[in-house]
């Protein structure tokens, strides 16, 4: 619509100091010259440094991203390694625990068997001791019984015999009995 308006004006306005579509060569000349110098100056002092800076920044961003990616991979690697090590250590510890369990079992069995032996020995010794004590007690009992018997016999016979002779006879008999 705007374009239409302008052409309306173009055809309608032709008087007084030139029309809209008059191309003034002076203006063309100055425009070209100005544009040329503008291009030269801007290219050297503005576009070049700015574009180089932009490229540098883009490159540095790209590099940083690459570096970050690499660092991430490195970290992942280390993490994996750590995990592997951890798993290995876990296995090792399990093995150690198992071994020690077996060892402990062995020691337990050994201790139990040893203690059984010791107990048996103690029991044997005790039973020997008991046997011995029993013998001693039996001997004493025999003596006492002999004494009592002699006393009793003496009393019964009323001193018919000499005490000594009687004692010998009784002892002989008792020994004979015990021997049998």
């Amino acid at each position: 619509m705007l374009t239409f308006f302008s052409f309306l004006v173009l055809t309608w306005e032709q008087e007084g100091g030139g029309s809209l579509i008059d191309v003034n060569p002076g203006v063309v000349f100055w425009t070209v010259v100005t544009f040329f110098f503008l291009l030269l100056i801007l290219r050297k002092f503005a576009w070049k440094p700015i574009l180089i800076a932009l490229d540098q920044r883009e490159n540095s961003i790209r590099e940083s991203l690459d570096k970050a990616e690499k660092a991430k991979q490195e970290a992942q690697k280390i993490l994996d390694e750590n995990q592997a090590n951890l798993a290995k250590a876990d296995e090792e510890s399990k093995k150690i625990i198992n071994q020690s369990k077996i060892y402990a079992e062995k020691i337990k069995d050994q201790i139990i068997s040893e203690s059984k032996l010791v107990a048996k020995k103690i029991i044997d010794e005790a039973s020997d001791e008991i046997e011995r004590k029993k013998d001693a007690v039996f001997d004493e009992l025999l003596n006492q019984i002999t004494d009592i018997a002699v006393h009793a016999a003496g009393k019964i016979l009323n001193e018919n015999l000499n005490l000594e002779t009687q004692k010998k006879i009784v002892t002989k008999y008792i020994q004979e009995i015990t021997k049998n």
Binding site: I21, V28, T31, I50
Partner: protein
């Protein structure tokens, strides 16, 4: 509202004068969009510019030429400031960020996809072109300023440079003979070639011609519409038209802001495309 009033300050003063004369001659509009030998600061007076002729050519510094110099100077100043920001650190600060956004836009959205490989050679030219047109277009919206891209001589000059660069690009990548041979589709019957060759040659020139007219017409049209809308108030001799006129003028003003950016983009985009076409001209 404020923007619109400010921008059309000069126009309003001038329009008032015409209305006082009770003159329905609309030539005052043209006075504002046409080139001249003086710069008008209406309530404060006018600045006369020197006129001189060299070798029979009128090389006077006209109003538009003066503003082209001004725009070029401002553009150099701005870009040097932006470039200096990159010297301190690779990460720009403040204003340079805005500049960088535009540079990246031109590089990544316009030049790189249009030309493809080897676009770096044409990047400085296209960047300069984009920023020059953008700044010129935006300058037209400043009070007391003029739209230099609304002068057909300026757009013709820019289009001619674009034409030369396009041809240079083609010759550089294919060699002179091969490039011009490549313009004509191969494997054509000789009879058709008689029609095709003039058409192709015409085609070479219509592209820059379209560039020239498109930018010129788009930039001048908005300004003429704004002046016309404001002029309605005085032509109709009624204060009640004023809110409508100012409202519409404000709308066109904002539209101009959009058009300023779009036209800079289109001119650069098409130039880049033409360069790309002549670099990869495989008919």
């Amino acid at each position: 509202m404020f923007l619109s009033q400010n921008v059309n300050n000069v126009a309003v003063v001038d329009t008032l004068k015409r209305a006082a004369q009770n003159n329905s001659d609309p030539s005052w509009i043209m006075h504002h969009v046409l080139d001249g030998h003086s710069i008008s600061f209406e309530p404060f007076g006018t600045l006369l510019l020197p006129q001189f002729h060299i070798f029979g050519f009128d090389l006077s510094i006209t109003k538009h030429v003066f503003f082209i110099f001004l725009i070029a100077a401002i553009l150099i100043l701005i870009s040097l400031l932006a470039a200096r920001s990159y010297k301190k650190s690779i990460i720009p600060k403040g204003f340079a960020n805005l500049f960088e956004v535009l540079i990246l836009f031109v590089r990544d959205e316009i030049v790189a996809p249009s030309i493809g490989k080897g676009y770096e050679t044409y990047l400085p030219y296209l960047l300069t072109l984009f920023f020059f047109i953008l700044l010129s277009n935006l300058f037209g919206l400043i009070p007391y300023s003029v739209t230099v891209t609304g002068n057909i001589a300026v757009t013709a000059a820019l289009a001619s440079i674009s034409f030369i660069v396009t041809q240079f690009a083609g010759i550089k990548s294919h060699g002179t003979i091969k490039y011009f041979k490549g313009l004509v589709p191969s494997g054509m019957p000789k009879l058709i070639l008689i029609i095709i060759i003039p058409l192709e040659i015409l085609g070479l020139f219509t592209k820059p011609f379209a560039l020239c007219i498109r930018l010129f017409a788009n930039m001048i049209a908005g300004h003429i519409v704004i002046f016309s809308l404001l002029g309605l108030i005085f032509i109709m001799h009624s204060i009640y038209v004023a809110p409508v006129s100012v409202g519409f003028a404000l709308f066109i003003e904002l539209l101009e802001l959009l058009v300023a950016v779009i036209q800079a983009y289109i001119f650069t985009m098409l130039t880049a495309l033409f360069i790309g076409m002549s670099v990869h001209s495989d008919h």
